[in-house]
């Protein structure tokens, strides 16, 4: 029996960590992630969660301590945001390459300078190529559900890769939503105990993290690429089984009124939900518009995206990060690349918006879609446009 309660999404993450029976949490506080790690610390202090809480002195050490914990076979969890992710950046690559299935929630936050504690996807995009499995959540329920799925996916013998669940700073971390909290016994039925195949163990010594001269380095990277691609069927299967257990099903690309839509708007994270209001209002006016939300960012869902945009004439991609001096937002660039070889593909329009926590309201989304349609017909002088920026 699930228990549907009104709960702050950050607190729901702490509950997810408890339900997953994590062994080690190593974390360093940073806005807007703080409520997550405060709540976990409280659960440990009250004896509600039997885990070691390591209050490290930096995010670099948070991820490093997770490496060590995971390497001995402990289920390790951390959370961070923005600058914190940047500080742990080099360690992220190590976690994936050494196949240490750490789970992290990232409260997406803008990057300095100027300092901004508010949300966008600049931090998320900076970890794009770190080899992590990456999921984006649109609401609190998705966050909780996908953290449970993340452990299941990450620790699968065929995967053994770290997994991050992205959620928008403040827009998700600090809102109270009605969330169904599963019973511990139900979660135990879905998520088996962690059993790392070759941990650091004096009874069976292993050397982890040996260095690779040129005669072997490329082979390790090929193996990593094959490994990450092979994670996809496990991700789909885990989501299916999660749905069978809990009645909520997830897919790599979510669509909203996309059936027969000539114009599609693609977003990631919590703005996906705001965008649906704009879709409803435009549909009322008779416009054939729909929305797509990209949930699985890595490994990239090539087929699902190609299928989802079939039949559309215009695809507007909203990025919440800038690739300065580049061809567009990182998501738009990738979507263009993925669709380039298609015989019939929509006109793709890149928009950057919502930087540093700037709201995009439903009516703003109507403007974005209308402007996107306009650009698709008349073109734009710029490779991409930044929405709502005063000049």
């Amino acid at each position: 029996m699930s228990n549907r309660v009104g709960i702050e999404v950050s607190r729901a993450i702490a509950v997810a960590a408890k339900l997953a029976r994590v062994d080690v949490v190593a974390a360093y506080p940073i806005t807007p992630q703080t409520h997550i790690v405060e709540d976990i610390a409280e659960l440990v202090a009250n004896g509600e969660l039997d885990a070691s809480y390591v209050p490290v002195e930096s995010e670099h050490s948070a991820m490093s301590a997770c490496l060590g914990a995971s390497a001995v076979g402990a289920r390790a969890f951390t959370a961070t945001a923005g600058q914190g992710l940047e500080l742990m950046h080099e360690v992220l690559y190590v976690a994936s390459a050494m196949q240490l299935p750490i789970v992290m929630s990232l409260a997406n936050r803008a990057l300095s300078s100027p300092l901004s504690i508010w949300g966008d996807h600049s931090d998320a995009m900076s970890m794009r190529d770190t080899g992590w499995i990456q999921l984006f959540a649109a609401n609190g329920q998705e966050v909780l559900d996908n953290i449970l799925c993340a452990f299941r996916i990450a620790e699968d013998r065929k995967v053994l890769l770290p997994t991050v669940v992205h959620l928008d700073g403040f827009h998700l971390t600090h809102v109270i939503e009605p969330i169904s909290i599963p019973e511990p016994s139900e979660v135990d039925g879905f998520l088996p105990p962690f059993n790392y195949p070759l941990p650091l163990d004096p009874d069976k010594p292993v050397t982890m993290g040996a260095f690779a001269p040129p005669y072997i380095y490329p082979e390790t990277k090929k193996a990593q690429q094959v490994n990450l691609l092979a994670a996809k069927p496990v991700i789909l299967q885990s989501w299916k089984e999660f749905g069978d257990h809990f009645g909520r099903y997830y897919s790599p690309v979510e669509s909203y009124r996309a059936e027969g839509a000539k114009v599609l708007l693609l977003t990631m994270g919590s703005y996906s939900e705001t965008a649906t209001l704009a879709i409803d209002s435009l549909r009322k006016d008779g416009k054939m518009v729909g929305a797509l939300s990209l949930r699985l960012w890595r490994p990239f869902p090539f087929e699902e995206i190609r299928q989802a945009v079939k039949g559309a004439d215009v695809l507007i991609v909203l990025d919440r990060a800038v690739s300065f001096g580049g061809p567009g937002g990182p998501v738009c660039s990738e979507i263009k690349a993925v669709l380039y070889d298609e015989a019939r593909r929509p006109k793709i329009v890149g928009v950057v918006g919502g930087l540093g926590g700037r709201d995009i309201s439903p009516s703003d989304f109507v403007s974005i879609i209308n402007r996107g349609i306009e650009i698709s017909q008349t073109g734009s002088e710029q490779e991409f446009e930044m929405f709502g920026v005063r000049e």
Partner: protein, 313 residues
Amino acid sequence: MENYVTFGRRQVTKEENFTPGHRACVGCAEALAVRLACKVLGKNTIVVNATGCMEVISTPLPTTAWEIPWIHTIFENTGAVVSGVEAGLKVLMRKGKRSQRKVNMVVMAGDGGTSDIGLQALSGALERGHDFLYICLDNEAYMNTGIQRSSATPYGASTTTAPAGKKSIGQITWKKNMPEVAAAHDIPYVATACPSYPFDLMDKVAKGAAMLGPAYIHILSVCPTGWRLAPDLAIEVGRLAVRTGIFPLYEIENGKYRFTVKTPKLKPVEEYLKMQGRFRHLAEKDIAHIQDRVNQEYAKLQDKVALTNKPED
């Protein structure tokens, strides 16, 4: 007894957990220090290694010199990695997922990985009180990348990034006192060691590993390649570092200082400096300057020994 070699009244195991066949330079005293430490640590050990000489000489894929579980991730994070190893093992033992037993969790890192880039992670781990032994293998520069200066490089040494020249004597700063930095964290055990004194070194590793809580051992590891001396002089130079008072062997156990190798009459530092190419350029006044500093530092240490061993009033 066939598994032991006898030296006087001492017996040392023949077991090698850091095995021959690695790629250390000829005469490397650091590899010797690791070998001796591993003899003492035994099989119930997990080693967390920083990037550096010992890492690259021992583990080019797909080979390894390690007979005990060993992990290397990056350069500056060993303090944090061992924190995770310790926290993880502890909780797994508590939950019955690993058998209850004493496992030595040991960091090995160079002087750069300790006193420069890894200092923050080390300080965090010492402050949090994890149960581990940190071994700093100090060869007084970034030797793995080609003899660049670190904060552990001694005054007057010529390195590739602080070279001696017409306007410089090379390193113009005094060696960072890393054992004191560690001791300032109020940890139960801090010691200095040198493989030229193998039994002293092994005793300290045994003590540090057995200690509950963080222990720190700073091992001066003579590097013939970087110090510019013949490989067969490594042991002798290490001994001179101790006998001149440049690198005294002592331990701080629960705040009490104690010399473990007595040096009643210190030799002049010149004897030590003259043997090494990295100090070749030093003028007499530079050597006198170094001698003054060594005298001062040694006296300070003697004071600490006296102060912390005062009979109770």
